[in-house]
């Protein structure tokens, strides 16, 4: 049994069962540990990846559903070691704490900013409603995201 999918632009083959959660395939087979398994229930958003350009919680996507499709993970955001503008502004504003939620938050906001590059603060907060962060209280990372939106 093998399934093909495209992960971060590369053709990959998985030998896992089709019902295996995509996040486990990414972690255990492809050693991409960026997407974080924090609840396995779709509530925390830490495992968010892009599936054909749409943000999805990869703990709830069975591998079979990803067959032949394009998956992008947090590891794809930087190009040639250069942080994406979103990653860079989060680093500049020094908003990261434990960091477990950031892979999911970055994937959600990256996708959101593609469609709403000049979003307002309230819209950014609404976009993050599926991501739990237990450390930061959100506001300072939202400040950083607002600063990025103001630049564009």
């Amino acid at each position: 049994m093998s399934l093909r999918l495209v992960v971060n632009g590369e053709d990959r083959v998985s030998r896992a069962e089709p019902l295996t959660p995509l996040v486990d395939v990414l972690k255990d087979e492809f050693h991409l540990t960026g997407a974080k398994v924090a609840c396995r229930e779709g509530f925390c958003g830490a495992c968010t990846v892009h599936l054909d350009g749409q943000p999805v919680v990869s703990c709830l996507v069975p591998l079979g559903m990803a067959e032949g499709r394009e998956v992008y993970t947090v590891e794809s955001l930087a190009t040639a070691g250069e942080l994406s503008p979103l990653q860079r502004i989060m680093e500049e504003h020094d908003v990261v704490q434990c960091g477990m939620c950031f892979p999911g938050i970055l994937m959600v906001l990256t996708s959101f900013f593609q469609e709403h590059p000049r979003a307002e603060r309230d819209e950014i907060k609404a976009a993050l409603v599926g991501n739990i962060c237990r450390c930061t209280g959100y506001e300072r990372l939202v400040d950083a995201a607002v600063a990025l939106a103001k630049r564009s």
């Binding site: 990653q87 989060m90 020094d94 477990m100 739990i132 237990r134 930061t136 959100y138 300072r140």
Partner: protein, 791 residues
């Protein structure tokens, strides 16, 4: 001795670990994998109280992929804090829903779970002691019938029946105060539920058994506790356990205890392979080591002019089936509920009570959060009774220089008073948000809080390298709080005249670093920081002496700055630190320094405190919080309109990082105030088993916190610093509860203030909390009879 440029120490240094966290490259314990690694699962009880008649693993052992099974007989020891009352596996008796019965290691997690389910357990049900009222009722069944025979690890607490531990304070004559004819007596009752930490990284461990020693890689706040407690449970010398700690994905106190590490260690030894054990979110919800549910009865005798002549209180803390952290936390009541205000006389009883429910643990500002809620609401009820403005009452009564605390310690410096003035200025500086309330009920409250730094022993070693960098070795852990990547390198760099980026900070490793009490209680910047500063001073002396010979200049005339040893006042003179170290290599050998720190032990008044682990607080930390709320009279929904914090930080080493801690801590506190709560069903099982039913704050729930850092209060911390990460959560429930009471005119006695509860208050349908199991005569609530010394 020459001093370094003080302008270096305060800076908004960025976190060095942020980039990899943003790139998805950071490898937490949950991301660790080793060759031949097995996966473990725990078999847990599905009843809360039972006798174990039989455990049969015959079938489980033959299941596919199974490599090892661990049972009670593999872990003969008992652990605990104060009392060794807790076995690793249920032994003969089940005491809570979710209690560990067996652990299985297999090739895959699914195989381990299947085998755990295949273990046959025969049980005889026993009655459940569900609540603290049940536990304290006359003739109640004992959760630990054998309590008298447990090993005592700390002397002094009174114990008896279902009271696992009791700490009491008696200072002065409260009976006389309450009997005065010029006082008003105000009595209040409060009840709070459990709060779950919801660290995004669950508890997780990878254990190996190599060369006769256990190597435990774990997501913990307390590497040395894990080392010592694992050894105690397994019955092996502590030197056979080696603990290392990768980056930790959130702790908040949940990881301030040894929990799952021994299971993985036993399975690794039995199987001869590395074993990974990661708790599922459901396990984290149902067996979390929560902030405990508590009940508080407090009464005060207050004069019409607002002096508190006497105060008596009883605090019941549910420790669940085993004493754990709550034994220690009985100590805190004296310093939290007994804090904030000058008291003419005081009696406090703080009791950890056994029930057949999952054990509780430590959570950021343990005990202080609900006691501050109770104290501040009680204070407002006093103000209402005597007709005094709550801010005026607080200004009159907050602890100041030379005032006595509950246990008779003498406080130093006027801090809370000036902080109230700073809050008044912060309030004046921004317009009230009352117009945003619209047709809703508007309320506001300013509250105060007393917390303290939990100091205790730490040690540090610094290697000054031949390239001019320094390597700092401690057992401190980076949980996200930033201390290890900001405050510590800043402190060391300041002392050595180098850039913080040239201070390498080693991850915690008990084979490399000496003993440390762990990360908690706001102690890392203070205790690990003080040890690091002492180690840096040691290194500094050595390098100055080496350079003084080379430069033919007295060491007193040399300074360390910009990576150089310079002659004071002559910029660019002397030599690089790297060169001086290279010289030392030839002359005396490599440059290494060490430093240690422990609590100085501020005295309490003799005879006042009984059963306390800490009689007086070494470093008090004060808060003033202000909150505006709007309450929807139709739904009971509470919206936070504004939130302001004046926080006593001693000295702000990294103001931006402290702002991050305050925003995060306040938000966690607002969650506890408004919607986070675990409740327990009749079967003794926690009802909220997932993030669907346990509601943590989301991005749309938060407001930006306005912050003023109060510097200059006395502190024995390094460079005058205090811990800043713990205390922000102390006051939000108090601030919200007082503001909601002001908005609605209702007596707020419980948290969280969910819409149904607030609506119930507004409609007069919310039953009053009366706590009839706490006796009116304070003495009837305590086992111990401390001998008061009248003052």
């Amino acid at each position: 001795m020459a001093t370094a440029d003080p302008s270096n120490v305060t800076m908004n240094l960025r976190r060095r670990d942020a980039r990899d966290k943003l790139l998805g490259r950071t490898r937490y314990t949950v991301d660790r994998m080793l060759p031949r690694m097995l996966h473990a699962a725990i078999l847990r009880s599905e009843v809360a109280s039972a006798r174990i008649l039989k455990i049969d693993i015959t079938r489980a052992r033959q299941m596919p992929g199974v490599r090892a099974i661990a049972l009670a007989e593999d872990a003969p020891g008992m652990h605990g804090i104060g009392i060794a009352d807790h076995p690793l596996f249920a032994s003969g008796v089940i005491r809570f829903h979710g209690e560990q019965i067996a652990a299985v290691a297999a090739d895959t997690y699914e195989q381990a779970r299947a085998a755990a389910r295949a273990i046959e357990v025969e049980l005889e049900p026993l009655p459940i002691v569900l609540t603290m009222a049940d536990a304290l009722a006359p003739g109640a069944r004992l959760v630990h019938p054998d309590w008298k025979n447990y090993e005592l690890l700390f002397e002094g607490g009174a114990r008896g029946g279902n009271v696992a531990w009791e700490a009491a304070v008696v200072r002065g004559d409260t009976e006389a105060a309450f009997a005065r004819d010029d006082v008003v007596v105000v009595e209040s009752c409060f009840r709070v539920g459990r709060q779950n930490h919801v660290s995004l990284e669950p508890r997780a461990v990878v254990a190996s058994y190599e060369d006769g020693r256990y190597h435990i890689e774990t997501s913990t706040q307390v590497p040395w506790t894990v080392r010592n407690m694992t050894a105690k449970l397994l019955g092996v010398p502590a030197s056979q356990v080696h603990v290392t700690v990768p980056p930790v994905g959130g702790g908040f106190g949940q990881k301030f205890d040894c929990t799952l590490e021994p299971y993985a260690a036993i399975l690794a030894r039995k199987s001869g392979q590395p074993v990974r054990l990661v708790y599922s979110r459901q396990e984290e919800m149902l067996t979390c080591l929560c902030r405990e549910n508590a009940e508080i009865k407090i009464r005060s005798a207050v004069t019409q002019s607002g002096d508190i002549a006497g105060r008596e209180a009883v605090v019941l803390m549910d420790c669940g089936a085993y004493g754990g952290e709550q034994i220690f936390l009985t100590t805190m009541t004296a310093h939290t509920l007994g804090g904030n205000y000058r008291l003419g006389s005081v009696k406090l009883a703080s009791r950890a009570v056994y029930t057949n429910t999952p054990p509780n643990g430590a959570f950021r500002a343990c005990n202080g959060v609900y006691n501050t809620f109770a104290l501040e609401r009680h204070t407002d009820e006093i103000c209402q009774a005597i007709g005094m403005d709550p801010l005026e009452f607080r200004r009159r009564n907050v602890l100041g220089d030379g005032d006595l605390g509950a246990t008779g310690q003498v406080f130093e410096g006027d801090v809370l008073g000036p902080m109230l003035d700073r809050m008044a200025r912060l309030r004046e500086a921004s317009p009230s948000k009352e117009p945003l309330a619209g047709g809703r009920l508007y309320g506001r409250a300013t509250v105060v809080g007393t917390w303290f730094i939990f100091v205790g022993p730490s040690t540090a070693t610094i290697n000054l390298n031949a390239d001019g960098s320094a390597t700092l070795i401690t057992a401190g852990v980076e949980l996200g709080q930033g201390t290890m990547v900001q405050a510590l390198p800043q402190i060391v760099a300041y002392e050595l005249g180098i850039h913080p980026n040239d201070v390498i900070v080693r991850n915690a490793d008990t084979d490399a670093a000496g003993f440390d009490l762990g990360v908690g209680g706001g102690r890392t910047t203070v205790s690990v920081g003080a040890a690091s500063l002492a180690a840096a001073a040691d290194v500094r002396n050595k390098i100055l002496h080496t350079a003084s010979e080379l430069l033919q200049t007295q060491p007193e005339r040399l300074v360390l700055r910009n990576g150089r040893v310079e002659i004071a006042g002559i910029e660019g003179s002397g030599m690089t630190i790297a060169k001086a170290v290279q010289h030392a290599h030839r002359l005396t050998g490599p440059v290494v320094g060490s430093g240690s720190f422990t609590n100085p032990g501020v005295p309490a008044m003799p005879g006042c405190a009984a059963g306390h682990f800490i009689d007086a607080i070494d470093i008090p930390v004060f808060n003033v919080h202000d909150c505006e709320v709007a309450v929807d009279p139709d739904t009971g929904h509470v919206e936070i309109l504004s939130y302001k914090v004046v926080q006593d930080v001693g000295r702000a080493l990294n103001p931006r990082a402290i702002h991050g801690q305050i925003q995060g801590g306040v938000t966690q506190g607002l969650g506890y105030a408004l919607h986070e709560e675990h409740t327990i069903g009749e079967d003794g099982c926690i009802r909220q088993g997932s993030l669907e039913t346990y509601r943590v704050p989301l991005a749309l729930d938060t407001v930006p916190v306005e912050i003023d850092l109060y510097e200059g209060a006395p502190s024995i911390g390094p460079l005058g610093a205090k811990g800043a990460g713990e205390v922000p959560i102390l006051n939000p429930p108090a601030a919200v509860a007082c503001a909601v009471a002001n908005a609605t005119g209702c007596r707020v006695q419980q948290m969280p203030l969910t819409p149904p509860r607030v609506l119930g208050l507004l409609l007069g349908k919310e039953p009053a909390v009366e706590l009839t199991h706490i006796a009116d005569n304070w003495w009837d609530n305590v086992l111990m009879r401390p001998r008061p010394i009248d003052r």
